[in-house]
Symmetry: C2
Subunit: 232 residues, 2 copies
DNA sequence: CTGAAAGCGCTTACAG
DNA sequence: CTGAAAGCGCTTACAG
């Protein structure tokens, strides 16, 4: 029962196509007509149906966000809130909406990504993590679906993936070197799940710094955060 | 160029409407036909266009999530990750997707909610916070749009709002009483922004406990987390 | 500068 | 049990 483009057209005494063009602010419509149509839209309280638009347009103005099994790990880590905040701001400015993955396992997440892509729910995807044996990226690449990875692709050839990363190897190495500089030798490493590339990079940087300083690397000083099991 | 219901229909030698019914698993279609159609879907790699479905159906299978200015406060607070995780799990199970608000200010958020509602982007909304002088709930109520509030409505009459809350007044009171029981008298209160109902309830509980114990309430012992200004 | 018509890919009465 | 047709609310060539 919502107000449609037809109602507006009738009210402004123009064709629906004209209303559509006014909405798109087409330069081919006279200012006079535009004003009349806009007035009618106001009076009627018109708002476009986004699903109809998406269908006709084949574009959704929505971005898909894929996180590692929702919140379980994701939100414990201050990185994700921060990155989502940045994404939100820009998305808002550009008039894009955000569609969130909800899967709890790798399989669920893959299924959801397929759903987003095949269903035409989103125009592009933001992958907020990179992991070994990832299924999602290969799927996206195969589909030729636009996406950006935050992190570093692992097994995938350069040029296949657009990504944004920071040098986690170097960061961890620098931190470790600093501790060594302070004279410490028994330096611990508390890392994330080793399935994530970021964790691997951190660990390698840590190990490299130790090795360079001729300090033996010992598993006894290394702890990894395992994924919490459901209900655990 | 994606495979449509028509392609499947042709392949299975049935009408598009039949394919649609097979997808919906209508009991009015013979098992034989169902199998033939399903086979055709497999072979062709058919996946429904969700926008078309939403348009025809007037339903999106998507829930809107509205958070206090994205992540800025939201994700610092472990409450939100946890609640989003719960929402995600259930949403996934029920085949619902999640659409996230991205606004940074109250005005932006309201605008977004209108966008979701008018645009037909979501079937219902989950409000993850309750604040004084809130604009969002009145709008939703006026529109008769389904939503659930997490928290307690402030200025709104009972029965107008479906909400899930815990007794923050009592919780804060109990905590304070415990400290009093231990013999403390100079008890500090570190609270959130006073625009949020939860903060108000906490503070009232704290104050009540003090008052009951004849301990004077002093502003000197109270600190409130103000919203961080952009770039601050 | 504007309109009539077809199309986007589904669903759902209405018939039979 | 199945099909033809209309409809959901937009957009966009094609004409004029």
């Amino acid at each position: 029962m919502a107000v449609t483009i037809k109602d507006v057209a009738k009210r402004a005494d123009v064709a629906p196509s004209t209303v559509s063009r006014v909405i798109a602010n087409s330069s081919r419509i006279s200012e006079k007509t535009k004003e009349r149509v806009r007035e009618a839209m106001k009076e009627l309280g018109y708002h476009p149906n986004l699903n109809a638009r998406s269908l006709a347009n084949k574009s959704t103005n929505t971005l898909g966000i894929v996180m590692p099994n929702t919140a379980k790990i994701a939100f414990q880590n201050p990185f994700f809130p921060e990155v989502i905040r940045g994404i939100s701001m820009k998305a808002y400015q550009e008039g894009y909406g955000l569609y969130l993955s909800t899967g709890q396992t790798e399989e669920e997440i893959l299924e959801e990504v397929k759903h987003m892509v095949y269903g035409g729910r989103v125009d592009g995807i933001l992958l907020l993590y990179s992991r070994v044996d990832d299924q999602v990226m290969p799927f996206l690449i195969e589909q030729g679906f636009p996406f950006v990875l935050i992190g570093r692709p692992n097994d995938i050839e350069e040029g296949q993936v657009t990504y944004v990363n920071n040098d986690n190897f170097k960061a961890a190495k620098t931190v470790t070197e600093y501790l060594i500089l302070l004279g410490h030798e028994r330096i611990g490493f508390i890392g994330g799940n080793l399935d994530y590339v970021v964790t691997i990079d951190h660990m390698k940087g840590y190990e490299q710094a130790l090795t360079n300083a001729n300090i033996p690397v010992s598993k006894d000083y290394m702890v990894h955060h395992e994924e919490v099991k459901e209900g655990g």
